[in-house]
């Protein structure tokens, strides 16, 4: 598997550390309540199809990126820096 780091180009998957869904970018406010924090930390969908997840180019430039990929076909559709992925 290879991932297109926006800074380094196509790189082997082994250079990256996998974090989980890009939902982690949407950090609740401190007083958002237990339910919001529980969702943020623990509850994830397990989609068969497109998903957006976080990878860290740990053995490369150090960038955190959001990768859009298909869990069924393994197709990688897009990769952007997390700074640009924040709403």
């Amino acid at each position: 598997m290879r991932l297109p780091c926006p800074l380094c180009g196509d790189r082997d998957r082994r250079e990256f550390y996998y974090q989980g869904h890009a939902l982690m970018l949407e950090r609740p406010l401190r007083d958002a309540g237990d339910a919001a924090w529980d969702n943020y930390l623990h509850n994830r969908d397990n989609p068969a199809g497109e998903t957006r997840d976080l990878w860290h180019h740990e053995a490369g430039c150090g960038a955190w990126i959001v990768v859009t990929r298909n869990t069924v076909t393994h197709e990688v559709l897009d990769a952007i820096l997390v700074e640009k992925a924040r709403v």
Partner: protein
């Protein structure tokens, strides 16, 4: 038998090797199979289950029978295919799965028992009683059935792994692959042309026709020379592409020429390509007729390969049995070489002879004879039965495109009525196109033309300009085939030669209702051997389809999975043995530490000294006790460079740290140090350490040794994803600074003996930091303590680390001090109740370790919100306490659990557990840190420490986790 003047390696030098202890001569470029056949050795193996005599079936990597063991002892390599193993001087090969000898195999009795050993036999027979399986049945079966064996010794051979990148990977260097390579290479693309053979050319190396007016093997060699002279082309021979993976990644196994002890045996490649073209060709398949497995019965294309390529006739009187035109070529080539062709049996009623040989149109082979090798076949045709004396039968049931790689990402091939086989579907592997015989195009001209066309499609997809290349002239015969899967008649008709599966086994599977292809496969083990049924699967499917009454397309195929050929684990894990298993990180004091005889321990990748033994000291504990006392009474030196150091700079550095740590750092004064606690977002402790403010916008953070990488990743995450608004940058400087702890009552005196300007307590109070000079080198000094003593840590750029270590050691020893290792460091910190990852192991909160008040509720920070969850504030949680044995000699052990008096020591009654333990020379008994339910309120109580594993029970008194100097007067003083 070698035919004079034939074979493409006829002028090659002679090579001597042994097989089963007998010495033979072959030619360089021979495979072991070719060389053995040249010496009239055709019985080379015993089959897996029934121990039937077997010879070579094929001339390639799909070989199911001719597996041998090469070498002896640790270098013993089992299950090597004789059909791909190149001979070399000194090669020693042995047959497998036969005892006492290949000719007289005691286990051949299995063949007589075969009516009782049919498919599913194991499942039905060895069900009960359960314990018999492990103790009795399995050992017997393992002894009786099997392939080659490993020696059990550690393999000392070297293997390699490597990475390659290219625009276009072309898999297979036959006619299609060569033309594809020429086409893409001329357009300037970066090309890798990989072929499993010792030379490129594919089938062109085994045929006698012309391409562009040149003998085809010479034409292939010319083109490969042209390609190898191009800078943008890499030709990888002896390299089998074994798997297709995501994003154009392929695995490939390169066999290095054997016989050179200096060279690695195999190299495992990972090839990343933009586009790929599969030109893997096709594999001939056998026909299931009674006793079709005797040595001497082989595939027609293999007979042609042995004859044309290596000049070897596999028999003196050859017969041919086929259902297609292609096999007739074998007869023509044999006759041309002067070998007797005793008949061509073609199952097609209207088949015509293409040359001067006896023809049995509409005929079938219904029986064979010959105990250790073929001697006679019986043919049935419209004129009745005929016995023919023959020592080699060349069979062909047609050709199967080599579709395996196209199925590695879940695609299924489709059935083609034209060629009676499976062909790949388009788009089976993203960015891969298929050309030539692998797509069911069997004429040479067709393969050449497709190679060009598919390569030009690839160029278009890459945005490159297409190449104008003429299609060479070549044979363009059409492929005529009529179905013939099995022949009626008495006797077992073998399908999977390696796993000893025959037609009746499949029929039995259907009778037992294992009707789908995947069920049939598991029931019979069809296609589950090391050859993965490359020859046999399609025939087996046809037999299954016949038995169930479903058509072949409806029956479908089983799943082809990587690797295409067996890959040694040693090749995949090449380099990762011994010292190669993990990188080693050494401090600047590493050599001096080893010179002093200190045993090393691992801390992640770092190596750190356990203790520094002195002459006369016989146990680690004796040394450790001395080192602890030395620090408490005099002064000790310890390399602490392995702790993570992160340099943090920028106008928002303080705000950033306030968000990272649960306590506050923006208020820290310059030249001051503060202890910080870092939470995970779920409210548990991530790491701890001290962070110093070196300047207005500059901090230096220390992490624990083990969490350094994790913390760095975390800082990157917070900075890039959560707080990109903060103006801050940071970098790991762990490797750039050598840092040493100088601890003990004499530490200030020691420093003043080496620093260019002396220090005093007034200007350097506890938790201060700043620049110092030592022998003209600018460094940093931190007055911090992990021992509880008056202590410092001094840091210099790494290049001065070794000399500063020597200087500090010499000064310390002159003051009754010296070096101390991790064991003493651990005792010192337990006596002071300082935590490590033994305590902050991922399931504890700031409250649990008594630091709840550090979580500043006036600001947001990572973990702040979740640290206030009700569950984490529960007073019944386990809290950090100290433990002392009630009897001074009582033994404490890490990992032990705690119980209340009178309650059984079972998990339901568990009160807590011990995380760290030491013998304290300062107190003269064991000490422990532990987590105990509601522990803060239980100081002074008694608990029973129970260690079921070490059989220890000790009464303990619960106490404050800081055993020594609770007010911290020593470190402040």
């Amino acid at each position: 038998m070698r035919i004079a003047g034939r074979g493409f390696n006829r002028c090659a030098p002679l090579v001597t090797f042994t097989f089963d202890g007998q010495s033979y001569t072959g030619r360089a470029g021979d495979t072991l199979a070719a060389a053995l056949l040249a010496n009239d050795v055709r019985h080379v193996a015993r089959s897996f289950k029934y121990h039937r005599p077997r010879g070579m079936l094929t001339a390639g990597s799909e070989e199911p029978n001719a597996l041998v063991t090469v070498g002896y002892g640790a270098a013993q390599d089992p299950n090597i295919r004789a059909t791909t193993l190149e001979i070399y001087d000194g090669l020693t090969a042995r047959s497998q799965n036969a005892w006492p000898s290949l000719k007289h195999d005691a286990m051949a009795v299995n063949d007589l028992l075969s009516p009782f050993l049919s498919a599913g036999f194991y499942y039905k027979t060895f069900m009960w009683p359960k314990s018999f399986w492990e103790k009795l049945y399995e050992p017997i079966i393992r002894h009786a059935a099997g392939l080659g064996a490993l020696s059990g010794e550690t393999n000392q051979d070297t293997y390699e792994k490597a990475f390659a990148h290219c625009d276009v990977l072309i898999i297979g260097a036959g006619p299609a692959g060569i033309m594809a390579a020429l086409t893409v290479a001329r357009a300037g693309a970066d090309v890798i042309l990989a072929d499993e053979g010792m030379a490129g050319g594919g089938r062109l190396l085994s045929e006698t026709y012309d391409v562009n007016g040149r003998p085809c093997e010479k034409w292939a060699a010319d083109q490969l020379t042209t390609l190898s002279n191009m800078e943008n082309v890499r030709i990888m021979t002896r390299t089998t592409v074994t798997g297709a993976y995501d994003q154009g990644t392929f695995a490939a196994l390169e066999n290095i020429v054997l016989g050179n002890p200096e060279a690695p045996k195999e190299c495992f490649w990972r090839i990343a390509s933009q586009r790929s073209i599969l030109c893997a060709g096709a594999l001939e398949r056998p026909i299931a007729f009674p006793n079709n497995d005797r040595p001497g019965i082989m595939l027609a294309s293999a007979v042609r390969a042995y004859l044309n390529r290596w000049g070897v006739a596999p028999g003196q009187t050859v017969t041919i049995f086929a259902n297609n035109d292609d096999a007739h070529r074998t007869a023509l080539d044999l006759i041309d070489a002067g070998v007797t062709v005793a008949g061509v049996i073609d199952s097609r009623a209207g088949a015509l002879a293409l040359g001067d040989y006896p023809m049995f149109a509409g005929g079938q082979v219904i029986a064979t004879k010959g105990r250790l090798g073929l001697s006679t076949i019986t043919v049935l045709d419209c004129n009745g039965t005929h016995d023919i004396q023959t020592d080699c039968l060349a069979m062909s049931g047609g050709w199967n495109p080599t579709v395996h790689l196209t199925c590695h990402m879940n695609a299924r091939p489709t059935w083609s009525e034209d060629i009676l086989s499976f062909v790949p579907i388009d788009g089976a592997i993203p960015k891969m196109l298929v050309a030539g015989a692998a797509r069911g195009v069997f004429s040479t001209l067709g393969c050449l033309a497709e190679g060009i066309a598919v390569a030009n499609n690839t160029l278009r997809e890459l945005g490159l300009i297409e190449s104008q290349i003429d299609i060479p002239t070549a044979e363009n015969s059409t492929y005529h085939i009529e179905p013939l899967w099995q022949v009626d008649g008495k006797g077992r008709k073998w399908l999977d030669f390696q796993n000893d599966v025959h037609v009746k086994d499949i029929v039995l599977a259907v009778q037992e209702n294992f009707r789908t292809v995947e069920h049939m496969k598991r029931y019979t083990t069809q296609g589950m051997a090391t050859d993965q049924g490359k020859n046999s699967n399609v025939v087996a499917l046809a037999v299954l389809a016949d038995a169930t009454g479903c058509g072949i397309p409806e029956t479908g195929t089983t799943t082809f999975r990587p690797p295409y050929v067996p890959v040694a684990i040693a090749a995949m894990g090449a380099g990762s043995q011994g010292h190669g298993f993990a990188p080693e990180r050494h401090t600047t004091s590493h050599k001096a530490t080893l010179d002093r005889g200190a045993p090393m321990m691992e801390a992640r990748l770092w190596y750190r000294p356990s203790y520094f033994p002195k002459p006369g000291e016989t146990t680690w504990l004796e040394t450790c006790n001395r080192e602890v006392a030395m620090v408490r009474n005099h002064v000790g030196i310890c390399d602490v460079s392995t702790l993570g150091k992160i340099d943090i700079q920028g106008p928002d550095a303080g705000a950033f740290l306030d968000f990272i740590y649960c306590n506050t750092f923006s208020t820290l004064r310059e030249n001051r140090v503060r202890y910080g606690l870092m939470l995970r977002e779920d409210g548990h402790v991530m790491d701890d350490g001290t962070t110093a403010r070196l300047g207005l916008n500059n901090y230096i953070m220390t992490t624990t040794t083990v969490a350094a990488g994790q913390v760095m990743t975390h800082l990157e995450w917070v900075s890039q994803a959560l707080r990109p608004d903060l103006l801050v940058r940071f970098a790991s400087v762990t490797e750039q600074w050598a840092q040493f702890a100088v601890a003990g009552p004499k530490s200030r005196d020691l420093l003043n003996s080496v620093l260019d300007t002396t220090i005093d307590d007034e200007n350097w109070p506890f938790m201060s930091c700043g620049s110092i000079d030592v022998a003209g080198v600018q460094g940093r000094l931190f007055r911090i303590s992990f021992s509880g003593e008056h202590a410092y840590e001094i840091a210099v750029p790494s290049r001065f680390g070794a000399s500063l270590f020597r200087l500090l050691t010499a000064q310390a020893e002159a003051m009754d001090g010296g070096l101390y290792g991790m064991e003493a460091l651990n005792v010192l910190r337990i006596e002071k109740g300082f935590i490590t990852h033994g305590e902050i192991h991922g399931r504890v909160t700031a409250n649990d370790i008594g630091f709840g008040r550090m979580v500043n509720q006036k600001k947001d920070c990572i973990g702040n919100a979740m640290s206030q969850r009700l569950g984490l504030l529960d007073i019944n949680r386990e809290q950090l306490v100290g433990l002392k044995p009630v009897e001074k000699t009582g033994r404490l052990t890490a990992g032990a659990h705690l119980f209340i008096e009178g309650e059984a020591a079972v998990s339901e009654n568990d009160q807590g557990y011990v995380t760290s333990v030491c013998y304290s020379p300062t107190f003269g008994h064991d000490l422990a840190l532990a987590f105990l339910k509601d522990g803060l309120k239980r100081h002074g109580n008694r608990v029973l420490l129970v260690d079921h594993l070490r059989d220890v029970q000790t009464w303990c008194e619960v106490c404050h986790p800081v055993f020594l100097d609770q007010k911290g007067e020593l470190s402040r003083g």
